[in-house]
Symmetry: C2
Subunit: 768 residues, 2 copies
């Protein structure tokens, strides 16, 4: 590859000035003339039959313009890959907070008042909150129609007649034989709590429906096309009759990847004939959107005395709450990850996503991998300490590398794992002397990309030589507008500031499956490269004609087309484009669509596939902590986060992604937990749900390792989620290193540490 | 061509329901939160130097947020093909109504009040209002920089040091020799007045500028990209830094094809930091936007006694007002049309567009051709009557036909002229007995398309098998959204209702040079066909793979892909598209750009070109009138308007276009005239400027003649303007037929008719 001029550079984000000066419109700020305000009436019961709904008093309240219930969308169901959710509850409710009715009124206060006038008669049904209980025969069945729901066969293996929404398996080698050959066998059970996304901006959308039935929705979303698909499915409309336009997004982290309040805006607008805006309250966001999946993970690992892993058996139980949300694929991925980034010849995994009568668990930055890596990397540490080996060395001994065969039968490519481990360890001084109560921990990570999600792009060369770039990738703060513009600029030989990135809008920007799964740089980046190549080919053909040269002899750089070796024979891109506009062939447009076609669906019985996903990321987190034995408080002194995301298109933005993700991971390790009392969340506000501030944030050292991927744009993979994963295990391992207590249940609160220290002191006394 | 299923059908327009139920937003209705209102201070003098402008009092008025003058855009000039116009006057003003300053305030009343507080000191300069006077040596020079302006060499031949903004020539054969061979020579001078567009919706735009300098403009426009280009030029910005989004348009007719108030919205928003809306008053629209060009046309024609035309010499003087607007190309086209749609071996044309100190004359439906056809077709009638020949027969004898050589040296293709003449004549009973004071007249017409204007389109196949169509062609009421959707639907084998047409937006919809010059069906239609073919090829390739067939064996129809001869082997377009989305290659996108590359610029000295434009339209208007000899009132009893616009994509909409245009032509014939007193318009309102109502509208018989064009989409040409042209001559000719008076100056008011009847009676008395 020739030298790059824009890609790989640490350039300042292009939307920075606009955002810093509040010259952008977030979903909460978007307004239309004549707009009404919508509110949702939510179920107070975790599980109940709806006997009747009387909306007459609400409808009679002056200022109320529309009231809708399940009867206004009698058929449609939506979901990510299992369509199990109505926009408004029909026969029954399945969690506290489920929408039952919606009101549009001239202001929020009137809408709120109207909610209080709606009479809903419920008949309670026995709820179930614990996923293990929910799996037992005789448990209350939350979705009697589970076998009838439309579901993707690639990812979904529901067990009808039970609450098991998805069951995924890996069968690789022979675990029994592996355990028989092992010198040591370890078996541990780890748990993780629900975590909340904590977007600064709550969910907000405005819907407008014309008399011709076409709906337009402006929404703070990570996935305009995904919202389109799901809203249309919920409302039994063709997807292309729902136009979704992305506003600026004040934080997404997975919470805004799917339809939430958009179908309700559409229903209310259709009924009232006016645009309707809904903004969720913070309480609603906490109690009725989604969380990271709580999990119970049992891991049994057989090793030789030198630390070589021979066999691993894993059982994962995910509490997916009342609706699938994206739990089906979180389950599928967590199963894929259960072996960790290691060469293990014998692997058996059984992963279950189980319905309970709680708020749905859904996609959240990391998508199952923080859970499985917490469990897996904690146990690796247990093994190392038990065997008297360096935890770093145990990892390096078993780590995947280029050409390794994975637990799902794939020959791996682009594996920067060992380098990440070594660099992260070195960055915190792994081998240095430890003062008392200080400890160091390391954990590695891998994450797959989600397969079967396409992207596309249009490129148009303006007559001024500047380039319009159209994709449906929303810049949700991570900097994708800048990264995609860099890729486009590189391929068209122009500067970053020469690219105009269009606002995602399903009527005009081409399809994309959303800013999820760290997929934008790889997928949309590839689509942009294809579109740019298409445009570039047209530019060169025309320039060749104008310069009387062969296209192969031309170079496109610095906004100019040159004849190779004759720099004086040149045209500006503006000249070529102007010629196209007014003399030859018409405006230059490029198109590109990308989907990794080499991916093969995993076998449903064994989880095996020669290529289950487009690419894998790798990384390692190393921390040094100080534990206060009096208070149990863990203070993180150093945090190094090393990531192999393939080529770094923009190291500045990548470092930002690493730092932000690592802090989310640290919060997961130490503080954050959505607390349930039965089906009710008891800490649904920022007063009660603790997120870290700058006071708690350690200095984070981001480290970039570039194992270029042959199929990635300029060798890039993706970066959005990786650094979130593995932090918890690194901290837990450092805790053990510091004070020799092992906690298997997140978060690692001071109460748990103190209790563990007291128990350890007791045990030590007993032993002595 | 196989049988067509959507193209050629008289389908109801797709936007009808939305428009009829007021579910669309016109420019005057568009609002943004926090929006300011702008007003323009206009020159009270036709020609004056600006000595000073004091805005301090206006700026101090509470509620005023920005005041701008020429100093806020010190450099940029804009124009269609000659950039001669500043957005706000700098050193001098050139017409009464020229913008001198602009104010943005919290409401219109405050902005209006602030205008009164701006002190402008002028020094008057001698103005010139008559184009013939303006051409004379020693006339006041309106544009001293004429030689320095950026101008398109293809169309523009300004004469620096004079007021001649453009001078175009045709030299074909040898007119002196032709006249020498003629049996009769006729020489007549005809005049036409200024006509006003009379859009129901006045000009309206909202501009918003971010701190990063990018401007977004929502405007009621016929040409988003044209407004972009001109606004950027006026403000010295790169075009792609101005985003133009089209609102619904409440009438355009050429008045809204170019930048008018958009640069002012941008300047005021840039200075105030808030969105700024400007809506022109009706008085401003009349006095300070544009008119159809007033003209003086002298025609000398030599004929044989059988009516064969041997030679024609034409001089055209167009009063183009203070700025070029599009007068340069109106002049170029009117010159091209001066020979009429006839085979004339010897032609000499000199056409001048001349600056005067009046409101600019600009593009208006028909674009010069109503003027030249009024003159040319009136004289043909004079000739026929003088020679004692049937006027229809004289036309048929000389009419162009397939393979004729035109006066500009082109071998003509797709010429339905003779059929139009015969059908129009037949429709009004040409040969029937005429009662007293009734007369019949006929006139034919031709119109060229404008060359060197490109179009482009994107097509995206949605996962539901429905199709997104992106172009920048604004449906201004003529039905282009429907026609383009028909073309797209035909090529992709889906129904009209399966097409979603996107809103034109220069950031997302691909480039197009505007809804002008009857160009949309031909140019954008061709771009749509290319984009659809591109998408279709992808659909067939993927379907072939899925059906295990060869792409050549597949048919795309009824939303399905079939194997030819095996109708059971079929996939729905949704199935193919869904497979593309999630399994193969990614979303299906098509792109298409069109520009007629066979066009050759006309020779500047002779006007000759083997192909000066993409295609020519032909038509004929026949009328029967009754003249009241007591009042001079001409009543049109029958009007047949026959048009060869190539294949009619939608006969229902084409008939609507023919009827609407014919009424505009009739208004031009009988009533409409912008009256000037020096540089001041004396009838700037609908109280004083008479437009026809349904009372005056005759029954119009539209006749469609389809001479398919090899390069048109499905053989189509264009239809927007043709029926406007030639009506005046048909009415004038019928007037002569009825009462034997010939009027050479439009409009044919009752006053002129009465005066002519009185003069004729006098003359008859003198002769007797």
């Amino acid at each position: 590859m020739s030298e790059l001029s824009v890609v790989g550079k640490a350039l300042v984000r292009t939307d920075g000035l606009r955002k810093a000066t509040a010259q952008v419109t977030y979903g909460v700020d978007f307004k239309l003339p004549g707009m009404l305000y919508g509110k949702l009436l939510r179920s107070p019961y975790p599980h109940a039959r709806i006997i009747s709904i009387d909306t007459s008093q609400a409808e009679a309240l002056p200022g109320v313009k529309a009231v809708v219930t399940g009867k206004d969308s009698p058929e449609g169901l939506f979901g990510s890959r299992i369509n199990d959710q109505p926009p408004l509850a029909r026969e029954k409710v399945r969690y506290i907070g489920e929408p039952v009715a919606a009101v549009a009124a001239v202001n929020e206060a009137t809408a709120e008042k109207a909610l209080g006038l709606i009479r809903v008669e419920y008949e309670e049904i026995t709820p179930v909150f614990d996923p293990k209980e929910a799996m037992r025969p005789g448990a209350p069945i939350i979705h009697a129609d589970l076998g009838k729901y439309q579901a993707s066969p690639i990812f979904c293996h529901p067990v009808p007649g039970t609450n098991i929404m998805n069951y995924m398996k890996i069968r690789h080698g022979n675990v029994e034989m592996g355990f028989a050959q092992a010198d040591f066998i370890f078996e541990d059970t780890f748990t993780t709590p629900a975590q909340h996304h904590c977007c600064l901006e709550p969910h907000a959308a405005v819907g407008q429906v014309g008399l011709d039935g076409k709906a337009t929705v402006w929404t703070s979303t990570q996935g305009p096309y995904k919202v389109r698909t799901e809203s249309a499915s919920a409302l039994s409309m063709p997807p292309s009759r729902v136009r979704v336009i992305a506003t600026q997004v004040g934080g997404g982290f997975g919470a805004k990847g799917r339809a939430k309040l958009e179908p309700h805006c559409v229903l209310l607008s259709r009924k009232s004939g006016r645009p309707v805006k809904i903004v969720l309250t913070r309480h609603e966001v906490f109690t009725a959107t989604s969380t990271r999946h709580p999990s119970v993970i049992r891991i049994k690992t057989g090793v030789k005395s030198d630390g070589t892993i021979l066999a691993r058996e894993v059982e994962v139980i995910l509490d997916t709450g009342a609706y699938s949300e994206s739990g089906e694929i979180v389950c599928w991925e967590i199963g894929q990850g259960a072996a960790g980034p290691y060469q293990i010849p014998n692997v058996k995994v059984d992963a279950y996503a189980v319905y309970t009568n709680k708020v749905p668990a859904g996609p959240m930055r990391g998508f199952g991998w923080p859970q499985i890596m917490w469990a897996s990397e904690s146990q690796i540490d247990i093994i190392a300490h038990k065997l008297g080996l360096d935890p770093l060395e145990v990892r390096l001994r078993n780590a995947l590398e280029e050409g390794s065969v994975s637990a799902t039968g794939e020959v791996m490519h682009s594996v920067g794992l060992k380098e990440c481990l070594r660099e992260a360890a070195a960055a915190i001084g792994w081998d240095d002397q430890r003062p008392p109560n200080r400890g160091r921990g390391i954990a590695c990570l891998t994450k797959m990309s989600v397969p079967f999600l396409p992207s596309s792009a249009f490129v148009k060369i303006n007559e001024d030589g500047r380039v319009g770039l159209l994709t449906s990738a929303v810049d949700i703060g991570q900097g994708s507008d800048t990264v995609l513009a860099q890729i486009c600029a590189e391929d068209l030989g122009v500067g970053l500031s020469d690219i105009e990135v269009a606002v995602p809008d399903t009527d005009t920007t081409p399809p994309d499956m959303g800013v999820i799964a760290s997929r934008i740089t790889f997928h949309v980046g590839n689509a942009v490269r294809l579109a740019a190549a298409d445009a570039r080919q047209q530019v060169l053909a025309l320039a060749a004609d104008m310069l009387e040269a062969s296209p192969e002899d031309l170079l496109l750089a610095d906004g100019k087309v040159f004849v190779r070796g004759s720099p004086d024979r040149a045209l500006s891109l503006a000249q070529v484009s102007t010629a196209a506009f007014f003399q030859k062939g018409g405006p230059i447009l490029g198109r590109g669509s990308f989907l990794d076609e080499d991916v093969v669906p995993t076998d449903p019985d064994t989880g095996q596939s020669p290529k289950p996903c487009p690419y894998w990321k790798y990384g390692a987190t190393a921390v040094e902590v100080e534990v206060d034995p009096e208070t149990g408080v863990i203070k993180v002194l150093k945090l190094a986060s090393a990531h192999d995301c393939g080529r770094a298109i923009n190291p500045l933005l990548l470092n930002g992604q690493i730092e932000g993700g690592a802090l989310t991971g640290l919060a997961y390790a130490l503080w954050e937990e959505v607390v349930f009392d039965g089906g009710r969340i008891t800490n649904p506000s920022f007063m009660e749900y603790r997120i870290p501030s700058t006071v708690e944030a350690p200095n984070i050292s981001p480290i970039i390792v570039e194992a270029e991927h042959h199929a990635g744009p300029f060798g890039a993979k993706g970066a959005g989620e990786a650094s979130t994963i593995g932090v918890a295990a690194a901290v837990g391992n450092a805790l053990f290193d510091a004070v020799k207590v092992r906690i298997k249940d997140l978060p690692l609160t001071w109460e748990k540490v103190l209790a563990a220290l007291e128990k350890k002191a007791d045990d030590d006394r007993k032993e002595a």
